[in-house]
């Protein structure tokens, strides 16, 4: 049962991911990616990560992609002109590269096995308990947590620096 749902969700994800890549119109891409992320969130749930699934929906599908939409609107870049995406050689090489890499990646992943699973504490879905996760964050992953806070701060300031209008300086260049 789980498995069927997972496979269905995965299929949807893949399809919409493909759409995202294929559609010329960026807005379409964003929207299809939203769908993809939703279905991905379903997969997360099935992998005992309800909390992550929630975040996925809120942060990704919600915040980030919406942000993308805003920017798209702001710059109102329409659909790519149908001119060829680049030099044929370039496309060819990309194709070759991707195919080879995909081959390696998938073959590796197919045969990749994990070391013997540990006995789960109670039933599987204990894994994703937010409280338990919180303990991790403020326990063993405290350092990471702090680091990420700096990261976000930097991102914040950075975004501010870049987005701020040219105010008190003569334009240059």
């Amino acid at each position: 049962m789980d498995r069927l749902v997972f496979e269905a969700a995965a299929a949807v994800t893949i399809v919409f991911a493909a759409l995202m890549v294929l559609s010329r119109n960026p807005v379409h891409s964003v929207l299809s990616l939203v769908v993809a992320f939703f279905s991905l969130a379903i997969c997360y749930v099935l992998l005992f990560a309800p909390f992550i699934a929630v975040i996925q929906v809120i942060v990704y599908a919600g915040a980030i992609l919406v942000l993308f939409l805003f920017v798209l609107m702001l710059l109102n870049v329409g659909r790519e002109r149908p001119e060829k995406t680049g030099h044929p050689i370039q496309t060819l090489l990309s194709g070759v590269g991707i195919v080879l890499f995909a081959g390696f990646l998938l073959s590796t992943l197919r045969q990749s096995v994990t070391s013997a699973p540990r006995a789960l504490a109670g039933e599987p879905n204990v894994l994703g308990k937010p409280e338990a996760l919180a303990r991790e964050f403020f326990g063993g992953y405290l350092l990471h947590f702090e680091a990420v806070s700096v990261l976000l701060l930097a991102a914040l300031v950075g975004a501010f620096v870049l987005a701020r209008r040219e105010s008190h300086r003569e334009p240059r260049g």
């Binding site: 498995r3 890549v21 960026p26 992550i52 975040i55 920017v71 790519e80 990646l105 006995a119 991790e136």
Partner: protein, 103 residues
């Protein structure tokens, strides 16, 4: 096995997503779409993480995913800001047309 889902399957899906993202990153010209593709690649990593974590029966996978999402968010913020800043000069975010610096 995670419940009834075989790990390999999860990983294959993640791998597939990664490759799709790769295609987008390489073949699209619109910077935003490229970036979207990269986001997709990161998500594929997340999927794999959760798969591994679940099959290992450890929470670490989810913890990592959490951080990854945070990172991705931060990247998105900065990235979009950069796009905007550049757009002010070039009126485009088509990477084929953005080659003032070369050679």
């Amino acid at each position: 096995m995670i419940g009834t889902i075989p790990l390999a399957e999860v990983l294959i899906v993640s791998g597939a997503l990664f490759c799709i993202g790769l295609c987008g990153a390489l073949l699209r010209r619109n910077a935003i779409q490229i970036f979207l593709s990269i986001e997709l690649m990161m998500n594929s990593a997340n999927l794999a993480l959760l798969g591994y974590g679940a099959s290992l029966g450890t929470r670490e996978g989810q913890v990592v995913v959490f951080f990854v999402i945070a990172i991705a968010a931060a990247e998105a913020a900065v990235g979009l800001a950069i796009f905007v800043a550049l757009f002010r000069h070039t009126e485009t975010i088509d990477v084929n047309r953005i080659n003032l610096l070369k050679w």
